[in-house]
């Protein structure tokens, strides 16, 4: 982990509202692993104030560049979206705990929902063999990226590939057996994947998305409810990837609950 000034190599649109950022990477910071993230300060101004976390979506072969796919959604990502190649940006990383390798004999099933695509693509590239299942709202949301051969595309409206959610495709098409189910996406998708893993006694490694203030484990702001009811886990440093062995519940309660 290190704080350094990264150079923006490219910052191109890859889908409606999505961009792919490529940054120079200081190798002294350590080599990023799939599932880990970096935090960026998009502007020296005080509004927007906090750094923003972005999951790595890839790394160049020589380790000198990293990428992140992000959705332009609020003030910080809107500023980021306007930064031109050659600009400097304050980066900290790699942060958090990434995806573990599949255990001996475990089949790797990778599911991504929406912008959760980035870390899952990075993971797929690092594995010799995996089944990759990607979910999107509709065909027009599919990114212009080199998606791996043989990956399964799902859309909510059936406008491309399988009609339905990645969890539904996996439930129908993956036979029971020794599986590690990897996932990154919106909370309802993670809840569905955790439920599926529990039902089939699969191991799971699911990556959370949460607002963060410090990104390093100090502020306790990015808490997620533990599934055993015993308090909270930090998305930034206990995660963002939370793993469970076969037959064990996911450590995080993925079911979105309204504030009481």
């Amino acid at each position: 982990m290190k704080q350094f000034e990264a150079e923006i190599i490219s910052n191109r649109a890859v889908a409606p509202g999505w961009k792919e950022l490529v940054l120079s990477w200081d190798k002294g910071a350590g080599q990023p692993e799939p599932g880990q993230f970096l935090s960026l300060r998009v502007s020296p101004r005080s509004d927007p104030l906090l750094r923003r976390p972005f999951a790595f979506s890839g790394m160049s072969e020589d380790g000198g560049r990293v990428s992140a796919i992000y959705q332009v959604r609020g003030p910080a990502t809107s500023i980021l979206a306007e930064l031109a190649p050659g600009s400097a940006i304050d980066a900290i990383g790699p942060l958090g705990r990434g995806f573990p390798r599949p255990g001996p004999g475990e089949l790797a099933i990778l599911a991504a929902g929406g912008i959760g695509l980035g870390p899952v693509l990075f993971l797929a590239k690092s594995l010799a063999a995996s089944t990759l299942v990607l979910g999107f709202r509709e065909a027009s949301a599919l990114p212009r990226l080199d998606l791996p051969q043989g990956c399964v595309t799902c859309t909510d409206d059936g406008s491309s590939g399988f009609r339905g959610k990645p969890s539904e495709w996996i439930s129908r098409n993956v036979p029971s057996g020794l599986v590690r189910l990897y996932g990154c996406g919106p909370a309802p998708m993670l809840a569905a994947l955790a439920g599926l893993a529990a039902e089939r006694s699969w191991a799971s490694s699911l990556s959370a998305e949460q607002w963060m203030a410090c990104g390093v484990g100090a502020c306790m702001g990015c808490a997620l409810r533990r599934s055993d009811g015993a308090g909270y886990l930090r998305a930034c440093s206990d995660g963002p990837v939370f793993s469970a062995d076969a037959g064990r519940p996911s450590p995080v309660d993925w079911n979105p609950r309204r504030p009481t």
Partner: protein, 314 residues
């Protein structure tokens, strides 16, 4: 001759005026890879309570204009786990460490302090100026817990009684952290002084609320939270100005410090030292930049001792 950056608080001498605020720096290890701990004037730990606290329901944080609204709820492992798991590393850090203490009742604050004192043993006499646990910061100002915290910090009589009962069990530096959520911060500062505090620190966060208009729902699970960041800088500076004119003991200023100018405002307003909090989240080099900038300002203004800045407001 180089400038004298040291700060005297009661018997305690801190190497420089720039500390890192409680609740924003964990127990130090979280930031060890990013911040040179040896350059810190003091490290104020995350608050410790008698029993472990899981913290508040989520969501706990939301960004507001130039601010951070939080409701963590004093999440901490409790004093026993603190002594076992956190203290050994804290004692080995190359900077002075001040343990922030919180509780729901006076008895709880007292028990936490006694437990830590019993483990550390009495402080060596003389002027402690090295690393180690050199003092306590008493949190009577957390807006995010139902009992204790603010309930103490808004009542001068309770602040004085709590301070004097804690004073009786430690010779280490005792700092009372004040809330800005009061009509007259001077009266609370005087109560801490009367109770035997070596210093007061101000300010803790301001009570705030943010609403998701689309959902028609508060953005924090606890509805209200504590506001920090640049948005509260002028409030903190005013509180330090008032508190430092109400008491003879040193005042430690915090709230919204992002750079040297912000810290210098606090020092000119009457603070003897400062703490960087949310500014560290935004940029972990903030404490070091602030310290360097104070040094440059002193040089440019021919000020030899950081302690002299306090009297320089025109």
């Amino acid at each position: 001759m180089s400038a004298d950056l040291s700060v005297r608080i009661g018997e305690l001498v801190l190497p420089n005026p720039v500390g890192v605020a409680s609740g924003t720096f964990g127990y130090g290890s979280e930031y060890e890879a990013l911040v040179e701990l040896g350059s810190l004037g003091a490290l104020y730990t995350k608050a410790i309570t008698l029993e472990p606290r899981p913290g508040n329901d989520v969501p706990r944080i939301v960004e507001t204009p130039s601010g951070l609204l939080n409701s963590i709820g004093l999440a901490n492992p409790g004093v026993e786990a603190f002594l076992t798991d956190k203290l050994p590393a804290l004692l080995a850090y190359p900077c002075p460490v001040i343990v922030n203490v919180a509780g729901a009742t006076e008895a709880e604050y007292l028990a936490v302090l006694q437990r830590i004192e019993a483990t550390l043993g009495p402080q060596a006499s003389g002027h402690p100026d090295g690393p180690g646990i050199v003092g306590y910061e008493v949190n009577v100002s957390c807006p995010n817990v139902k009992h204790g915290g603010l309930a103490f910090g808004t009542d001068p009589a309770q602040v004085e009684r709590l301070t004097s009962s804690l004073r009786a069990v430690t010779k280490r530096c005792l700092i009372v952290k004040l809330t800005p959520n009061v009509a007259d911060i001077g009266s609370i500062a005087r109560a801490a002084e009367a109770g035997g505090a070596d210093a007061v620190s101000c300010i803790n966060t301001l009570v705030g609320m943010a609403i998701d208009v689309g959902q028609r729902r508060p953005r924090l699970a606890t509805v209200t939270g504590g506001l920090s960041g640049p948005a509260i800088l002028p409030v903190g500076v005013a509180c330090v100005y008032k508190a430092s004119r109400a008491v003879g003991i040193p005042v430690i200023g915090l709230g919204g410090i992002m750079g040297p100018e912000d810290a210098l405002q606090y020092l000119l307003a009457g603070a003897s030292a400062v703490q960087v909090g949310t500014g560290t989240f935004v940029d972990p080099t903030t404490p070091a930049r602030v310290l360097a900038g104070i040094g440059s300002w002193m040089e440019a203004n021919s000020v030899m001792r950081v302690a002299d800045i306090r009297g320089m407001l025109r």
